[in-house]
Amino acid sequence: MTRRLVVLSLALGLTLTAGAGRAPAYWYDGPRWSSNPVMSLQFGSVSNGVTLTDGSTTWGQPAEAAMAIWNQYMDRVQFRVIRDSTASTGLGNGVNNAFWSSSIYGRSWESYAGYALWLSSGSAITEADVLMNNQLSWNSYRGNARSGVVDFRRLVMHEFGHVIGLNHPNDHGQSVAAVMNSSPGNTDTLTADDISGAQYLYSVGGSGSVSFPARNESLDFRTQLETKYRDGLRRGNSTTYVDTEGDIVWLSEYFRYRVNACSHTQAQTRVFAQIDNTGTFGVCGVVSSSSVAFPPRNESLDFRIALEAKYRDELRRGAGQTSVDNEGDVVWIQEYLRYRVNGCSHAVAIDKVFAQIDGRGVQAVCR
């Protein structure tokens, strides 16, 4: 069902100045709403007149609060609510029911406190129901998760994230703090990654874009590629003025611009401006939800050659040695990134690239 990964709206400067870390890495299944999802809340009052820890007197209050938080980051659609709905519950009835239940439409629960079920037709979500387990002890509180008492707001916030089409980043080769991880744990509200996901799917400005892996992982790939060429393929050294980190950082940036709707010239101009520290740019547009298009190999190679010249002639960097020729450099970095944006973890992506280098052909992606 999953189509591909997406993400981020990390400020470009942060991307480049941060050290080892995690890239935002939200995941969505593809379909999205074309109109406002109207949720029929059927959670009722808190039994015995108890006031929840956060002051709520009905379960609908934290549910509405969760939707309001998502709404802050969506332009094209907004959650709407029908309070205390008496609509009949059921999937396929055209109503987006949110309610307590002892089963998932007749099927037993399995570990999780809530499930979201969403129907799509083609690229459009047509209905979504949220079912919360009425056999558990619930409250609504902020802060770390407490043993034995489930926080309703963060769980329903997670399920509403499914309603808008997001899925679990940690189930798709990503490692990031997010309320949308399969278990929110101590994360009690939206993180930057969750917000990027909502913005990607529903922001008019298209602040979302395709995300690339954390720098430490990309650098690890480039280092392993060097070793592979030197020790595995027994390639000789050639001179380069671009150090390993510069190579992977700027090539990744070039590819990131390209897959986010920048032309070759736009991407190269942006990267060189970053190198010169003369500007910070956004990406060039919102990408299609169906595919991530990498540039043709000749253009990537042109960029790599231009980068070499920039380091040598403008930055006056000293000469170094590499066993990876320019073509191998751009081809395999691009392949590594292609696997990563298609759901493969760092380790699996490296494994697949090296299988290609060893002549085993293009490997399947991890979607």
Partner: protein, 199 residues
Amino acid sequence: MGSSAVTAALLALLPAVAFAQPPALDLGTLTFDQLAERAATIVVSTVTSRRSEWENYGASRLIVTKVTLAVEQTLKGSAPRTLVVEVLGGTIGDQTLHVSHVPSFKVGDRDVLFLNGALHAVSPVVGSDQGRFRVMNEAATGNARILDAGFTPLVSTADIGVSAEARPTGLVRSMADAVSLSDFVTLVRDRVRALERRQ
């Protein structure tokens, strides 16, 4: 139905009162021991086919997918050589039912599966999706390795049940770091035997 009956019916739908006893159901991430203990059957298997169909439940119209597994090894319980499991969700034509936390299987997937044995659960896998471990062959050596559901190399069974936020940052793991299938099978068998002795 009278108003008192309606009230009673509605109350029955409400959750346990806040601050009540801890739930019997473990939430969130499950440890290796919990997975092994809860599993009715543990198999090493490959998906050979899947078929989605409509199912009516009350007023609901659901899509369920029947997944056929070729069983290589049974590590707990008993299983036929060909096993059919059912997951809620799937695609028929251009209609897709997405269900959170429920694993998606495709033909050719090779996994170690901790199956709950439930006849009519949202997922056949313990922990909904947590009891699924991917088996992938390392390209360089062909060795079968274990990865978690998110394709992250599983280095130790102690990592199972550790939430994403609790994992160390900046850690780079390779396929070669992952526990091998044969070692994982041994670990599972050992754990199952230990559980049996305890009972």
